[in-house]
């Protein structure tokens, strides 16, 4: 009773925060993850949490949603103490989380996915399918999605899945919506649509916790920004008091040189040339581009425009079925990844956990995997040589790890990405394909990876860099090829490239600028007719 009285007294001046965490401390096996972190979310605000990877953002979210129990500290929801938060309780209190990778059930329909979290009642209740679909459609419309509720969730694109997640949160009457890197794989117009939904939620009095590495978005969208560094709250600012450099400085604790745009445009020999390449299975048609030695070719386009598919074709995962590939002027056929590797092509894939690194294997084992020949003689692995190879790359890429025998699963995202890169650098490639090389890595690691890409280009590598991050594409590339519907809709020189022109090509509003021959009627090119 006395307790409730105190709580009521303290909250009578201001409306109680929707969610507040005060002096939260948490450590894992003796390693401190959070130290006296405090955070507060008011109704009707977008409150961003920024910080480098490992700063403690994920842990804080886990504590606020009941996935982890804090060692010390106090959690209140709408002014009420919640000493024992659990995921179910968090849901009941109106806290919804939208993760970077939507967590829908791919083999269930959209309506079922929505119903699964929203419907209550016994497990023997009757399912009213038409009711379910109507309800799902109403929620989807509310967040501006036109997806058919009968479609399987697995068939939706990433932004469509995200909107379904948000519709679920709206349906659950969530007061607190936590978004963890929601824009990591979205293109600009999709991001804009997401922002419209966020503004809508804010106008309805929801509080939104927004976590992102994209500082432009953070500055554009947030009302307040809390900076975490090494498990401590550094500061909470209103956005008026912060600009980008100040924000970066607060995050890394030092002034950081941001990526300098490339100045020198190298023009070496043509390392890789594609002539009218097509791949029916992956929906590619008539792709013609070339990359020179020492050049960074940016590959922009919307998600689903065929950029990753082009990389997979080039790397022999799904061999092409038409057109020509020339490596250093020689026509080649790339039928498998091994053949690609033998031609000196390296490919760092997009989703490093799924396709890039082996989490259960050590840094050394991961580094040598594509180049076991170099560390073995007559089929026997020379472990000392393997360690030396790995140590060289750990040093060169500044991978932070206790030793090269550390399991990759124990490293941070940025360091895992560097290990994936190390594997491909160890084959001494002539052509390197990077798919979203900085997705989900923190600003510090991002700048390092950018510097490294430039360094590699200067040493004569031909680099194809796929990225959805337009500022990154613009600052890193010598030329930019833009893809739309399975083909290249235009190639821009760095001097003529702007965000607007790239977007126009990605949406192919400016088809006139690129004299592509008529589509051959294959795969994804149907929309062009």
């Amino acid at each position: 009773m006395a307790f409730a009285g105190v709580a009521a007294l303290s909250s009578c001046r201001l409306p109680p925060a929707l969610l507040s965490a005060s002096s939260i401390t948490k450590s894992f096996e003796g390693v401190s993850a959070l130290r006296h972190v405090s955070f507060e979310l008011q109704a009707g605000e977008v409150h961003a949490i920024v910080g480098e990877n490992g700063a403690g953002k994920s842990t804080l979210i886990k504590i606020m949603t009941g996935a982890e129990r804090p060692d010390a500290g106090r959690l209140t929801v709408a002014g009420r103490d919640v000493p024992h938060m659990t995921p179910a309780l968090a849901r009941g209190l109106g806290i919804a989380v939208i993760y970077q990778q939507p967590s829908l059930f791919p083999d269930l329909s959209v309506a079922e996915n929505v119903a699964l979290t929203l419907e209550t009642g016994g497990i023997w209740r009757r399912v009213r399918w038409s009711e379910r679909r109507r309800h799902a459609r109403a929620l989807l419309e509310e967040v501006g999605s036109t997806v058919d509720p009968a479609r399987l969730a697995g068939s939706l694109s990433m932004p469509e899945q995200q909107l379904v997640e948000i519709a679920k949160a709206v349906g659950a009457d969530a007061k607190v919506v936590i978004m963890d890197e929601p824009t990591a794989s979205l293109m600009d117009d999709e991001v804009e649509r997401l922002f419209a939904v966020i503004r809508l939620l804010r106008a309805q009095g929801c509080g939104i916790i927004y976590i992102s590495h994209r500082l432009e978005e953070v500055l554009a969208m947030s009302d307040r920004i809390t900076v975490l560094r090494d498990g401590e709250t550094i500061a909470t600012h209103g956005k008026e008091t912060l600009d980008r450099p100040a924000l970066i400085q607060a995050m890394v604790g030092r002034t950081l040189k941001e990526t300098k745009p490339r100045t020198s445009v190298a023009t070496g020999d043509v390392a890789l040339e594609l002539r009218h390449l097509s791949n029916r299975e992956l929906g590619l048609s008539d792709v013609s581009i070339s990359v020179h030695r020492g050049e960074v070719l940016g590959l922009a386009g919307l998600v689903g425009s065929g950029r990753t598919e082009l990389a997979e074709t080039l790397f022999g995962l799904v061999p092409s079925d038409g057109g020509e590939v020339l490596v250093r002027g020689v026509p080649v056929r790339i039928g498998s990844p091994l053949e690609a590797i033998q031609l000196g092509i390296g490919y760092v894939p997009e989703d490093r956990r799924r396709h890039g690194v082996m989490l259960e294997m050590s840094i050394a084992e991961n580094t040598s995997l594509a180049n076991l020949g170099a560390v073995s003689s007559r089929g026997l692995i020379d472990r000392a040589a393997e360690r030396r190879l790995a140590e060289r790359h750990v040093e060169r890429l500044r991978i932070k790890a206790p030793s090269v025998s550390t399991d990759v699963g124990a490293l941070s995202g940025g360091n895992q990405q560097k290990v994936a890169l190390a594997r491909w650098l160890s084959i001494e490639p002539g052509i390197l394909i990077l798919d979203e090389p900085t997705q989900g890595v923190d600003v510090g690691a991002k700048a390092e990876i950018h510097a490294l890409i430039h360094e590699l280009a200067e040493r004569g590598l031909a680099i194809v860099m796929i990225s959805s991050d337009l500022p990154e594409v613009l600052s890193m590339s010598d030329r930019i090829a833009v893809m739309h519907a399975g083909t290249v809709s235009g190639v821009l020189d760095r001097s003529e490239a702007t965000q607007d022109r790239i977007m126009a090509l990605a949406l192919e509003r400016a088809a006139a600028t690129s004299p592509t021959p008529p589509a051959s009627g294959l795969g994804a090119s149907g929309s062009r007719r």
Partner: protein, 321 residues
């Protein structure tokens, strides 16, 4: 790496504890005759378990080994009866095992059918095919040269043990030091990434099934020569015994983790428990239950390790293109 050794130490400790209890309560367990029987009966189990270790590390499973075991034994016996030299009959059994293994492997690797489905089908098909062909009859009147591989009863254990030891050491060493061994771990750990790294993951999968088949053929021969007749229902339940030993030895059924030393310890622990019950005056009917409990403990330990490590090994399937 540290964790893997932790498992091996734990299993070794369990073996030690069991031995200690037996030494105090039932020293008769350690009679030369009992140990010899135990040893000879479990050499074949160890051979199959080594093959199974490769399959499980590659992220697959083979439950058809019991049926392959029966067919290879019967075929070796029939060939020996028809006058084929015993070594040639043994080689034929190994080849036949390799053939069945390759069929499993090809269906898994190139047709893309889950290994549990493929090997369930071949387990049933081979077992019933054998039953239908032999009409349940046992192979009897084996030539004298077939028994103990034509050796004396005193020589045979030495030869069989040496052969098994050489193979065990070769696989243990090869898995860690040969590039092909690394390819098996990489395939089981992350098949997509392994493929991107230029490894032929389909060939790796096909090969591990062929190896487990070959070793099963050899094991069938080493088992059959101990008796004067070959039952057509040999090897029933062998797959469970073997998979249990591999899992207890620290291999992860999700692939990418495991090793021969752990498997050897797993085989020893599970082999020692059965007869120990008799000596401790517990009904032999408890053997399976206790083996089951040990497997549960081993898998639970794996689960705890994974969740403490905080690794999300299961990723949501998303339609990211």
């Amino acid at each position: 790496m540290k964790n893997a050794h932790a498992r091996e130490v734990a299993v070794a400790a369990a073996i030690g504890a069991l031995g200690l209890v037996l030494a105090i309560v039932a020293p008769g367990y350690f009679s030369a005759e009992n140990l010899r029987d135990l040893f000879l009966a479990n050499l074949p189990v160890l051979l199959v378990a080594i093959g199974m270790t490769l399959v499980i590390v590659a992220g697959e499973i083979d439950i058809s080994v019991g049926s392959v075991f029966a067919i290879c034994a019967v075929v070796a016996g029939v060939l020996a009866k028809a006058g084929m030299p015993v070594w040639l009959a043994s080689a034929a059994a190994c080849l036949l095992g390799a053939l069945f293994g390759s069929i499993n492997g090809a269906l898994v690797a190139y047709a893309g059918i889950p290994s549990i489905v493929v090997t369930l089908a071949t387990m049933v098909a081979l077992r019933d095919g054998l039953r239908w062909t032999t009409e349940g009859a046992w192979v009897q009147d084996l030539p004298r040269t077939f028994q103990w591989l034509g050796l004396t009863q005193a020589e045979y254990p030495f030869v069989a043990a040496s052969l098994t030891a050489v193979l065990t050491i070769a696989f243990a060493w090869g898995l860690r030091h040969v590039a092909a061994g690394r390819a098996i771990y990489a395939t089981g750990s992350n098949p997509d990434a392994a493929r991107l790294a230029g490894l032929d993951t389909a060939a790796v999968k096909c090969a591990v099934f062929a190896i487990v088949g070959t070793l099963t053929g050899l094991a069938a021969v080493l088992n059959a020569v101990r008796f004067n007749q070959i039952p057509s229902n040999a090897g029933i339940g062998l797959e469970m015994k073997v998979i249990a030993a591999v899992v207890v030895g620290g291999a992860s059924v999700a692939g990418g983790r495991g090793g021969v030393p752990g498997t050897v310890l797993g085989v020893i622990l599970l082999a020692a428990i059965g007869p120990a019950l008799t000596f401790l005056g517990i009904s032999a009917h408890w053997e399976r239950a206790i083996q089951g409990a040990i497997i549960l403990v081993a898998i639970a330990a794996e689960g705890i390790r994974v969740s403490v490590g905080g690794r999300a090994l299961v990723h949501a399937k998303t339609a990211q293109t």
